[in-house]
């Protein structure tokens, strides 16, 4: 049936409206979003560049990509977990697929990412970062990241509509995750510490960030990065589908 197309189209339309909402009354329009992110990248690269005594030519592109990417991941998961709670009126009136609401949050963060990504070519050109064929791997990397974010959002959204204290917990966990995941620090910094290596390998966010970040820095993600990201997506979607089947009719009752 055309219902999958309907879900896709409706969620894109609603997500786009949500992004527009964020800068509707701003004079500089969409660049209001990008501007905030650019300031964040500039200040953080100065502060942490000094703290880590890092060479800005390497640190600036690394951090710019990381911050833009992390902004996308964290917005998509926080908005994702709130997606049914925020759509309560629609859910009580229309028998829509639950994917409309989670995808709406996802598209909103994708559109915001597209705005923020403008910073990246500017930074990459400024530091004369070379790019090559492997830069194209950013595309499968992003797709794999998106697939993962979507199943996590679906499970979080269902759990959040039942347990209303979950969204703030998600926010707190993301704050912790920001520090334990190599977002603003180089993964190489952990050196030869085997325990730290092992723990980092267990962090799915690490692999998901690597498969997008490394291609943009003209490097190859490791095979482990790819395998584990793909495995995480497959297992995650399997669980998410079971959860949706079990609970989708409860959402209208809980919201």
């Amino acid at each position: 049936m055309s219902s999958m197309l309907f879900v896709l189209r409706l969620s894109i339309l609603l997500g786009w409206q949500d992004v527009k909402q964020a800068y509707r009354r701003s004079a500089i329009g969409p660049f209001w979003i990008t501007g905030g992110m650019a300031v964040q990248v500039a200040t953080m690269s100065l502060v942490f560049g000094l703290i880590f005594k890092a060479d800005l030519k390497h640190y600036l592109p690394f951090l710019a990509i990381s911050i833009v990417l992390w902004g996308f991941i964290s917005a998509s998961l926080t908005d994702g977990s709130n997606s049914f709670i925020n759509a309560d009126q629609i859910i009580r009136q229309l028998p829509l697929s639950p994917f409309v609401h989670t995808l709406r949050a996802f598209w909103k963060s994708i559109f915001t990412l597209a705005h923020n990504a403008i910073i990246l070519p500017i930074v990459l050109v400024a530091v004369l970062q070379p790019i090559g064929l492997q830069t194209l791997l950013v595309i499968p990397g992003l797709i794999l990241l998106a697939l993962n974010l979507n199943w996590i959002s679906m499970i979080l959204a269902i759990a959040s509509v039942r347990f209303r204290d979950l969204p703030p917990i998600v926010t707190s966990i993301l704050t912790i995750a920001f520090y334990v995941t190599p977002v603003m620090w180089y993964p190489e910094l952990i050196g030869n510490n085997t325990v730290a290596h092992f723990l980092l390998g267990l962090n799915p966010l690490y692999h998901l960030i690597q498969i997008v970040r490394l291609p943009l820095l003209n490097q190859m993600p490791t095979a482990d990065n790819w395998y584990l990201s793909a495995l995480f997506a497959c297992v995650g979607w399997l669980v998410a589908i079971l959860v949706v089947r079990r609970y989708q009719h409860k959402i209208a009752y809980w919201v």
């Binding site: 409206q17 509707r24 629609i90 859910i91 229309l94 809980w254």
Partner: protein
Amino acid sequence: MMADITLENVSVEFPIFNANGRSLTSRILEVATGGKLDRDPDGRVVVQALEDLSMTIESGERVAIIGHNGAGKSTLLRTLNRVYVPTSGRAMVNGSVASLIDINLGINPEATGRENIHVRAALLGFSKKDISQKIAEIIEFSELGDFIEMPVRTYSTGMNLRLAFAVSTIVRPEILLMDEWLSVGDEEFTNKAEARLMELVDATKILVIASHSRELIEKVCNRVIWLERGRVVMDGPTEKVVSAYFGK
């Protein structure tokens, strides 16, 4: 194509969670403390909105749902719209359903009238092509003129209603659900709106409307279902049920 509705022993129960029942942290604490922390571990109270309802509605029927506030009228409408899947029993609804229960649903005050038409029509299930075909007609019907490019927050209440009415009534479902008759206050607009609504109702095979208005029910409906506390008190031809409910 026939449209019909069959409810078999339908019950709809809402869990009412207290603060603890809604909280994941207190759930975890409960497990950690062996459930002794909270005297009411589940914190669960169930409200029975519909209880063991059975009915059949055939094509051609114009059904009014009456009953006092909290009788389950809205819950029944939402069950027919497949928003609530019954907690027990079966609800079989054959035919396309549209609901005019809240015509302001999805209207964003910051967006322009035109943007709102697109969103609202998409929520109603219209494709992009359908919308671009109908948008001129919708704008004309709403009499908003150039205001259609302005944010809805700048509209008067009457303009707001006209927009919501114009876009919501483009649906042509087989089963139409309404919560009270739509009245569009504006004096001049009323006649036009009335005609459009009648046309819409005439085109549907089944109408189910929750109403408190005797006049409306007698004018439009040929069957009345009287609900009280989620159960059917009386179900029959308009005249009989109406005089029992409202008095002679």
